[in-house]
């Protein structure tokens, strides 16, 4: 196997390697200093709000960031910093043990309170959000924590589950969740399957990223194509290959989807 440029260890690297022409064309950024917050905001703009009648805050999945930044470990570290500072919330979605959803804390708070306006559960939910947002970065809560640390009663916990902020995990523990996110997950999984199918059915099971973005989407794909592309690239469901005509996405065999 011949490489046009040999791999060089950092100690021998005196000048930075020049970016390939393809990168300059497509405008993908692979800077050294990763700014996660701006990438998150960029991805959030791809989220279609109108689809859910504005009842959901913009949701981004953690692995979509991996398609924008090459160093996964530093992405994870910066995300943990943002979560610890209370700016970002992470949720465990049900369908994959590795798929985590990220929402900005202010957006989450605004949407939840907007959804709760006028209902009797509003006070309990407000109380919960106040406890949650500045300090706590857990994904799930068990009964002991709710009763002792947060000082909620059983009936209040029931109200929280009813409002959608908590979802049952198993007897005596709950996941933190986004209210009305069931529809989001359903459309997301359907859309992901449809986009992967489009890649798989292409000739040789591969397609240029720019071509995929330009394709007409079926009714199964409700989100923007770029949102799904970041998802399948980040979750490594397709292989990303740099070519002279741009990025090529090749379907990876052995996927369950």
């Amino acid at each position: 196997m011949s490489r046009k440029r040999a791999l060089i260890a950092d100690t021998f690297c005196l000048m930075k390697r020049r970016r390939s022409a393809a990168d300059a064309v497509t405008g993908d950024s692979h800077e050294g200093a990763a700014d996660i917050r701006s990438s998150l905001q960029n991805l959030m703009t791809l989220f279609s709000r109108k689809l859910f009648n504005d009842s959901l805050p913009p949701v981004v999945l953690k692995h979509q960031l991996y398609s924008l930044h090459s160093d996964k470990t530093s992405v994870d570290k910066q995300l943990n910093e943002l979560r610890a500072s209370g700016e970002l919330l992470m949720f465990q979605l049900g369908f994959d043990s590795e798929a985590f959803a990220l929402v900005f804390a202010e957006d989450y708070r605004a949407k939840v309170l907007q959804g709760e306006a006028g209902r009797e559960t509003l006070e309990t939910v407000e109380k919960f959000l106040d406890k949650l947002i500045p300090g706590c970065s857990d994904l799930s809560f068990n009964k002991e924590k709710m009763l002792k640390e947060f000082l909620f009663t059983d009936s209040e916990i029931t109200q929280l589950v009813k409002s959608g902020v908590l979802t049952v995990r198993d007897a005596g523990s709950w996941w933190l969740s986004i209210p009305n996110s069931g529809k989001f997950i359903k459309y997301f999984i359907k859309g992901r399957k449809a986009v992967l199918g489009m890649v798989k059915k292409s000739k040789y099971g591969e397609i240029l990223k720019t071509e995929l973005e330009g394709r007409r989407t079926t009714s199964h794909v409700k989100f923007q194509m770029k949102y799904h592309i970041h998802d399948i690239v980040g979750a490594e469901l397709v292989e990303c290959i740099q070519t002279t005509s741009g990025t090529l996405l090749r379907y990876v065999d052995g996927n369950i989807n």
């Binding site: 196997m1 040999a6 791999l7 060089i8 260890a9 950092d10 100690t11 021998f12 991996y66 090459s70 160093d71 996964k72 470990t73 992405v75 994870d76 570290k77 465990q92 043990s97 590795e98 857990d138 994904l139 799930s140 809560f141 068990n142 995990r169 198993d170 523990s173 979750a235 490594e236 052995g254």
Partner: protein
């Protein structure tokens, strides 16, 4: 490179630094070389490889046909083209050959007079290399997936054996019997590894998704279980609490200094752990494709400045930076799944074996001679052998 040599010469740099830099450069330029070959003996896939630590000269391989082969890796012929020959074989015609697939082979850590092999025929045999007859045979109740002897042990000569049984067995070479059982796992033991730093520390990986670290001197249970969420019970679903992987944990490898432990699992993840505390260092390697139903044998480089992990991934070997988690390159060359790989520390070469019955040698690419010098040599005439320009002098003449 010249700056490193000068710094070494003048004492500005530690001697180790030049060696590490050159080792790293060599590992980064690993490639299939058509000059280097390994003799093809196995009729069925190759499950395991082991290079002896004393000289780095002899390599053992065990195959799915029960055959064990010893190769001589050293190139004593003066030619560039070299095929690693077999020194001897325990073939199908031998009376003592394993009945079923050989899963693990390992040289005795202190000399090449002995090696140990374990197989799916529920036995583990200790062989005498000279006569190729088993000096000792251990019987077990279930298929033996793996075994390992401690490379640094002075006070004990225990072989840790992982079988279908959830109990890890420790067999003593001196007395010839299984003297100790480690209880704690709830599934088949797919991989066992002694620490290269402490002779009493053992790590085991099992199908119950847990990886346990034991001190064999301790009578009660394991020291700790590796937890992928570092004790943060909120992250996992309730069944996955306190597990190292979300699927079967099937590969283990300590780094050369024994301070870190790498584990792979069928959830397509590889994790790096601090071996003293059991903490997940959260280095994200991405998706490391792993569909192995048995143990996965992977290896870590030694002597390089950013260390590298070589993991068999499907039909290729993936090279990752150990602490950065980035995928450096994929070594493609096998025709079928790769099952095992072994790193030769002294020459920075990688040997990998797989289901296509080939052992491939990945050799660092040598620097090509400059084109200008070659032209000069051909101009001077074919009779004179090409002299390295460094050894040429201006005053000796060709005629006299």
């Amino acid at each position: 490179m010249l700056s490193f040599l000068y710094a070494r010469q003048s004492g500005l740099d530690d001697p180790v630094r030049l060696r590490r830099a050159e080792s790293t450069r060599r590992v980064l330029s690993l490639e299939l070389n058509h000059n280097r070959d390994v003799a093809r003996v196995h009729g069925n896939g190759i499950n395991t490889l082991d290079i002896e630590v004393i000289d780095g000269r002899y390599m053992l391989s065990g195959g799915s046909d029960g055959v064990i082969v010893i190769y001589d890796l050293e190139n004593n012929s003066k030619k560039l083209q070299y095929s690693c020959k077999t020194v001897c074989t325990v073939g199908r015609s031998s009376r003592h050959v394993h009945k079923f697939s050989v899963e693990t082979v390992q040289w005795y850590p202190h000399d090449t007079g002995m090696f140990v092999s374990s197989s799916f025929d529920k036995t583990m045999k200790v062989w005498d290399t000279e006569t190729l007859k088993p000096a000792e045979e251990f019987q077990f109740d279930g298929n033996v997936y793996c075994h390992h002897m401690s490379p640094v042990a002075r006070k004990h000569s225990l072989i840790a054996v992982g079988t279908k049984d959830p109990k890890v067995q420790l067999c003593d070479l001196k007395s010839g019997s299984c003297i100790h059982i480690l209880q704690g796992h709830r599934g088949e033991i797919l991989s066992v590894r002694w620490s290269p730093r402490y002779e009493h520390i053992l790590a085991t990986a099992s199908t119950d998704s847990r990886v346990r670290v034991w001190d064999v001197r301790r009578a009660s249970g394991s020291l700790f279980t590796l937890d992928q969420h570092n004790g943060d019970k909120s992250k996992a679903s309730s069944e996955a609490v306190n597990t190292a992987h979300n699927g079967r944990a099937n590969g283990l490898c300590f780094t050369a200094d024994g301070l870190h432990l790498l584990t792979t699992g069928t959830d397509d993840r590889m994790r790096l752990w601090n071996s003293a505390t059991g903490e997940n260092t959260l280095v994200n390697y991405g998706k490391v494709v792993n569909e192995s139903r048995k143990g996965l044998k992977f290896t870590v480089s030694r002597g390089c400045s950013p260390e590298f992990v070589f993991v068999p991934c499907g039909t290729s070997v993936a090279v990752y930076g150990l602490h950065s988690g980035e995928l450096i390159t994929m070594l493609r060359g096998h025709y079928n799944n790769v099952d095992c790989c072994e790193f030769h520390t002294d020459y920075q070469e990688l040997y990998s074996g797989g289901k296509d019955c080939n052992i491939l040698a990945w050799v660092p690419v040598l620097r090509q001679p400059d084109i200008e010098d070659e032209e000069n040599n051909s101009k001077r005439g074919g009779t004179q052998a090409a002299v390295n320009p460094a050894f040429e002098d201006a005053w000796s003449s060709d005629e006299g």
